[in-house]
């Protein structure tokens, strides 16, 4: 358990160092995620080991963004000015992305001949 948490933190740390050392636009934890995925693919035994800890961390993922979410109260000015525009952009772009993603999937699945 402690070993697994240490491992996850080490991958995050390595990601943060790589992101800064090479001035990458990608956040450090995302690099850590990609590196850990690569490590799992190379050593499936590692995946079996770390999986329960990873699942434990992710079981209440939505709790983790409550503190940042509450911070929206400090942007009352931005929301007063741009709130309606942001909401319109969210609704329209989410609908467009859903339709575009699903239609592309169906079209390519038909071409490739893969069935559900």
């Amino acid at each position: 358990m402690i070993l697994n948490i240490t491992l996850i933190l080490l991958f995050q740390l390595a990601g943060e160092i790589a992101a800064r050392a090479f001035a990458l636009p990608v956040p450090g934890p995302v690099i850590g995620l990609a590196a850990l995925l690569a490590a799992f693919l190379l050593r499936p035994g590692l995946a079996r080991r770390v999986m329960p800890t990873a699942q434990g961390l992710l079981a209440h993922l939505s709790l983790l963004f409550v503190p940042a979410g509450v911070g929206v109260i400090s942007h009352a000015e931005v929301l007063g000015r741009d709130g309606a525009a942001l909401l319109a952009a969210l609704v329209a772009s989410t609908a467009l992305a859903l339709a575009a993603g699903a239609l592309t999937f169906v079209a390519l699945a038909r071409l490739a001949g893969t069935k559900e």
Binding site: L37, F65, V70, L98
Partner: protein, 238 residues
Amino acid sequence: MTDLPDIWSYLREGPLLWLTATLVAYLAGDAAFRAVDRNPLVNPVLVAMIILGLALWSTGTPYATYFEGAQFVHFMLGPATVALAGPLYENLHHLRRTLVPMLGALVVGSAVAVISALWIARALGVRGATLASLAPKSTTAPVAIGISEALGGLTTLTAALVILTGIIGAVLVTPLMNALGIRDWRARGFAVGVAAHGIGTARAFQVNRTAGAFAGVGMGLNALLTALLAPYVLTLFR
């Protein structure tokens, strides 16, 4: 017996009060979500945000004071992002079988999400840091907050936009897919994972197991792609 104001002035100095309040508010939100049969409109994070927002406002507590306590929860976003490698690895066999449709839908869905949001918001007068905060809104919150930070956005605004996107996607997906006549559960799930991250994925699992598994893969892959894509798309709208 100590006076109530004395106890209050002691508590507001330390992290214990607002850390506990964050967990209590989240549990209340989760209970509310279960009470309405997991209707996506009653999102537990949104409920918790409203409860805590009201608590801060009514006690005149600044957000910085709140965050001193809540930062212990916030810190876990980084390790949780790394841990997303777990479910992504577990579902990778889906990717091997349907590689082409998935990668195509990933690139199209992810690009449409970022470009259309920035284009609409910019046309309606949104500029600068607010626009940067919007770019990663379809990505899972821990990754989106990291991307927003790297782009010079307002991370707390991004968190709220991400949650709203998830709720909108979860509410829209079923009626929209039915209207479009899309019956393939893999396509429906994958699209909602790409467009509406974890909240969309949770909704997909409620509707269909296959849709849920594909949504999880879509969410994980989009976290990687948006991190690469958003900085370049944003420069087009600056």
